[in-house]
Each structure stands twice: as C-alpha cells, then as structure tokens.
C-alpha cells in the first residue's frame, strides 16, 4: 500500500498503432520516464471512453491524466512538459520556446498536412501538394543546416532531443511509406543532407529505436486508406 505521501498518477494513452500523432505523445512520455497504460482503439468502432474524452474531434491521441482528457498531440506534449518537470522538452528561454513552437507549427501546417493530402490525392491535385511539400522540406533543410552540426545532432540543442525533434520524428518512419503508397517522392538525400543526417541520428536514439514500426505493415494500412479516399472522391 502506498505511503500516502503522493497520489498515484494514472496516465492512459488512447491511440492507434499507426498514428504518427500518437507516436509523438509516446515519445514525449518515454522521454520523461512517465509510466502509462496504452489502449489501442478501433477507429471503426470508437470506444465510449474515446467519444466522451474527445467529443469535439473524436480522434486519437487522447491522454487521460487521472481521468482528465487532453487532446491534440502538440497540446498534449506541452501539457506533459508543464506537468512533469524532469527532462524538459521545450527550452527554458522564452525566445527559444517561441522558435521551437514556430517550427512545430511549420512542420504541422506545411509538412504533416501536405503529406496527408498527398496520400489521398492523385493527378494534378497530388502534383500541386507534392510541389508544396518539396518547398517546405527545402525550408526545413535550411533550418537544419543552420542549427545542426557534428556537435549538435538534434533541434533540441545541447540537451539532445527537444520539442521540434519529437514533433518532426514521424517523418523517419512514415514519409517513405506514404511515398511508396502515394507514388511520389519528396525525400532526397542530395537535396536534404542535413535532414537525412538528422533522421539517421533520430532513429538510433535508444528510446526511439524500439518504437519504430514495420514498414510492410504500414504500407498495407496506408494503401487501404488511399483506396478508401480515392474511392470516395470518385463517387462525388
């Protein structure tokens, strides 16, 4: 029986195995050494817990902390950082924090969204978004070239992994898969040497490595997603 000095924290994460948004939250929890219970959701048959915890979006990830739900991966990561003080994810300095948040937003708006759209479109529509995605990767490469070097492997700086790394990390596992399924190419080691070096270092981080997903399984999943969306679009 606990001594009663500290209430036992109950941390639960609702997710699906293949979501990059869920993966980010897992990385943040592991980075802080927070114990949590993972619940795999079936999004074709959403649990009542998911629906009551996230009535607005009805999506994963949902973090439940002592029963209180927090949703939206970036909001969850900031909550984790503010609630558990060890191993800071965001920098301390307000200007550095603002820069980290800026890049997280950039990644989300210009890379994550665009990749999702490229997965579920074809023809001219897909060409347009792939072009935008390539431009965004160029901008990110510029930032990587400015910030990263042999001594600073990650966007988190001297302390190793940080907010931007955790937000961007999904590209290591997901982009190649979505490129294959969607029939396009944005990753280019020649054009994005710094991003590729960062990716090679990120996947080797001890807490990240065991979490990487099998590509074949992901390809099957995303092929289904692409077919479903293209099928719907054809009906309109």
């Amino acid at each position: 029986m606990a001594s009663g000095a500290m209430q036992e924290e109950q941390v639960k994460l609702l997710g699906i195995w293949v979501s990059p948004f869920v993966k980010r939250v897992e990385w943040a929890l592991k980075f802080k050494g927070i114990e949590y219970e993972y619940v795999e959701e079936d999004l074709t048959n959403k649990s009542s817990l998911l629906l009551t915890s996230n009535p607005v979006h009805q999506k994963v990830p949902v973090l439940l902390h002592n029963g209180n739900p927090i949703v939206e991966s970036l909001v969850i990561i900031e909550y984790i950082d503010e609630n558990w003080k060890q191993n800071p994810i965001l920098p301390q300095d307000p200007h550095e924090r603002a820069k980290a948040r800026f890049w997280a937003n950039f990644i989300e708006q210009k890379i994550t969204e665009a990749t999702r759209t490229a997965l579920v479109t074809e023809g001219e529509q897909q060409e347009k978004v792939v072009k935008e995605l390539k431009e965004a990767m160029e901008v990110l490469e510029g930032e990587a070239a400015a910030k990263l070097n042999d001594k600073t492997l990650f966007f988190g700086g001297k302390n190793g992994l940080g907010y931007v790394d955790i937000v961007l990390g999904w590209i290591c596992n997901w982009v190649e898969v979505i490129e294959e399924v969607g029939g396009f190419k944005v990753l280019d080691p020649q054009k994005q040497p710094h991003i590729h070096k960062w990716m090679a270092n990120f996947v080797e981080v001890p807490l990240i490595k065991p979490t990487l997903l099998p590509k074949e399984k992901m390809v099957v999943y995303f092929q289904m997603v692409r077919q479903a969306y293209l099928g719907l679009a054809a009906k309109k």
């Binding site: 607005v56 902390h65 927090i70 939206e72 900031e78 307000p94 200007h95 603002a98 937003n105 901008v139």
Partner: protein, 225 residues
C-alpha cells in the same frame, strides 16, 4: 534598461490585433510598423523569412512570428495580467480552444461560408454551425472564455466579435443567430465593448470595402474555372 519592442502589422489583420490587445492589456509599450503586404519591407522579410507575413513581434532585435506563438511569448515575458491560466490542465484546455478556433471555426466561416456561395456555402454553413455550438457550450457559466476576465482564448477568438457582423453584411446572411447562440452572441458583444478592445477595431467602412472586394474576387475566380 531600454526595451525595444516593435510590432509589424497591417491596419486590417485580425491576427495582428491579437498582439495589440495582449500588449495593451499588459500595459507594455511598443512601436507599431504598418506593412503594405503588396510591397513588403526588407525588415519584414528579414524578420519572417519563412512566411513573410504579419504579425511579427521583434523584442530587442529578436523576432517572433505566428500570432498564437507570439501571445505565449508575451505571456511568458511580461508576467502581469496573465493571459493563460496557471494550472497545466487549464492551460491545455485554453490551447485546445485557441487551436479549435483557428483550425475549425475560422476555416469554416472564412473559407467555407464567406468566400463561397450556393451549395458549397450551404454545406460549409452546416459545419460552421456545429463548430459554433461547441463554443456556445464552452461558455456555459462563464462571462469570458477565460472566466471572469479576458484571457488567451478570448484573444484568439476575438476576431468573431468584429468580423462576424462584417461578413454577415457583405455576404448577406446571418451567421451567429442570437436565438441559436445566445451565450456566444452575448460574449461577442461584451468582448467588443471591453476597454482596450473597443478602442482598437479597424475602421468598419474600410473593412467592409476590403472584404467586399476580396469576396467578389474569390467568387469571380471560382466562377471562371
């Protein structure tokens, strides 16, 4: 030590207005630089090379871009009259609603309802109504989204208090019906009449003219496809 604080904005940007409100609420002195987005200054391009947009806040030579990011920076740097709550869970809720406002409410009302017509507009209106209902529910028992006084979410959603009536006039339809959304309508009025807020709206006639022109251009472009 002299602080140097500059805000790059345009006369009409509601995103820049969020920053004006935040700085004035905190009583922080700053210099305003008005940009002409058809002829961007070298300073703007230097301070926001990625997006080349306003608002940009430059504090002692260091730029911060993206309005919600700037609001958080302001709250962390000038601690009086906090915009975000202290408690991490309450902060997460505030960030959630601010994001919901930009991702869903603004997108559906501006890009869905205002800049469209016919069937597309009707569909977008249904979606917008759903989003507004969530805001209505969130206001239960509260004067402002921030509670007793204006906070982060109020500043993030504040554009509604001015722009909805402008959109309604230009597009010729009702978006926020006081019967359907009594709390939201009351909040819009209370926010718009609040000190600082009421003194800083852009001139209404100029906004009407601007958004009329924008809407006409968008509808013409869509029709010619």
């Amino acid at each position: 030590m002299a602080e140097e604080l500059k805000l790059f904005r345009t006369w009409s940007s509601v995103f820049a207005l969020r920053i004006v409100w935040a700085l004035k609420i905190k009583g922080v002195e700053y210099e305003t630089i008005f940009e002409d987005l058809s002829n961007k200054s070298p300073s703007l391009l230097q301070y926001n090379p990625v997006h080349k947009k306003v608002p940009v806040l430059v504090h002692n030579g260091k730029p911060i871009a993206e309005s919600l990011v700037i609001l958080e920076y302001i709250d962390e740097t000038w601690r009086e009259t906090p915009l975000l709550p202290e408690d991490p869970y309450e902060r997460a809720m505030a960030r959630f609603w601010a994001k919901f406002g930009d991702d869903k409410v603004l997108t559906s009302i501006v890009w869905g309802v205002f800049f469209k017509e016919g069937k597309e507009q009707e569909e977008a209106m249904l979606e917008a109504m759903e989003h507004l209902q969530f805001l209505e529910d969130e206001l239960k028992g509260k004067r402002f989204f921030g509670g007793e006084r204006i906070g982060f979410v109020d500043l993030a959603l504040g554009w509604l208090a001015n722009m909805i009536s402008i959109f309604e006039e230009v597009a010729g339809l009702k978006m926020v019906d006081e019967d359907k959304f009594p709390l939201l309508a009351a909040w819009m009025q209370e926010f718009a009449d609040s000190p600082i807020i009421k003194d800083n709206w852009p001139p209404r006639d100029k906004m009407i003219a601007k958004f009329q022109a924008l809407r006409d251009a968008k509808l013409a472009a869509a029709a010619s496809k």
